[in-house]
Symmetry: C2
């Protein structure tokens, strides 16, 4: 077997002539960021099995114990990744909603766009598929309800101004659920569907507009007094 020739008394120095001692030293924060970026990339492209310390380390250009130094364990890395993605998504959604407050764009379309961003949604999809959601208190579900609440407030305000009937609360929740589900699904399979349907970039955009219009029409219809549906 001679399994271990051992004798690690430096008999096998690779290149004695070269010092090759250029070791880069980042700040802890910077290193963590780089590692998380690489992990996110791997996860998005290859799935959870793509999160391998060795590979990620290679991507960043460090050795894998460095990752363990910053994140304790592989699980720690995953948790940090979840946390970061959640806060990123949160910020993205809130600004999307904030911007659409002045009605320049449809809030639902903004939400859809923010959610169906490939990287984020695929990442979240993985977390959901592997059942890691319970680890984080503020998962995407909670986000969804927050958004639904905001939307509903918006609708109620509108209804008050127009003097129309206040919309059903559940209706708003269903709107938010559909948007979320569709955005998630779109992030996963949308690419393939568009391809199969022969849609180009512009076509995908048309699809999103179509979806936004669909919901808008529904809202206008529902919120308007019966029989009246002059939306625009």
């Amino acid at each position: 077997m001679s399994r271990t020739a051992s004798s690690h008394t430096a008999a096998t120095s690779p290149d004695p002539a070269k010092p090759a001692q250029k070791r880069v030293r980042r700040t802890a924060e910077e290193a963590r960021r780089l590692i998380l970026d690489a992990a996110e990339k791997r996860l998005a492209t290859q799935g959870p099995e793509g999160i391998r310390l060795q590979d990620i380390a290679r991507d960043v250009g460090i050795s894998h114990p460095a990752i363990l130094h910053h994140f304790e364990s592989r699980e720690g890395l995953v948790k940090a990744l979840i946390a970061r993605t959640n806060t990123q998504l949160r910020e993205k959604l809130l600004t999307a909603l904030g911007n659409s407050g002045d009605a320049a764009q449809d809030p639902i379309e903004s939400v859809f766009e923010a959610l169906s961003d490939r990287g984020t949604a695929r990442l979240l999809a993985w977390l959901l598929l592997t059942g890691r959601v319970n680890d984080t208190s503020k998962g995407p579900q909670v986000l969804m309800t927050e958004i639904a609440d905001r939307l509903h407030a918006h609708r109620e305000e509108n209804a008050k101004q127009k003097g129309t009937l206040a919309p059903d609360r559940e209706d708003t929740f269903f709107l938010a659920m559909l948007t979320t589900s569709a955005a998630f699904g779109d992030a996963i399979i949308g690419r393939y569907l568009a391809e199969a349907a022969g849609l180009d970039e512009a076509g995908v955009k048309r699809f999103r507009n179509w979806f936004g219009k669909l919901l808008r029409q529904h809202v206008e219809r529902t919120d308007a007094p019966a029989g009246d549906d002059e939306g625009k």
Copy 2:
């Protein structure tokens, strides 16, 4: 050493009084089916990391080399699982569409239901996320276009009967895309969304009906001659 000794004559048998020689021998087909069932279950509940030969073998009650005997390799098992799921989904969708041909139920709702079945969709989602779609010629994308074609034929026929305008082809594709995306997303995140929104079983059903109605209204609206929208 007598360790091997072919001594299944129970030197360390847990119950020496019992021969314990009951080795079950299934037909190859049966064995394959059981293994695939177990793998599918693991995959649905634990994600891709749940497909471990040892675990699956334990679930079935066999040793892990038996799996390799039937499927060559782990990858072979995965491919077989993909193939079976694809054909199952195909059949499910076709019968769903077939049944709804006589208008007892909305075709879109049937499709949604068939697609958002947790097991199937989660499995497919996994395949899509890991980019394993190219392996199979007949992925869900192709299925979607087939369904879209059928739906479109349906709509055109209706239009002809009613004497209304033929609907835009892209509109039908968008319908199918939305349904597919939403169903996929629902399979992944729907559970959590419903929970966060405080929906029970009946609530989830209401959501599906709501979605079906949304699309139906859209179809009625779009296909009707301009200005006329008395659907029901």
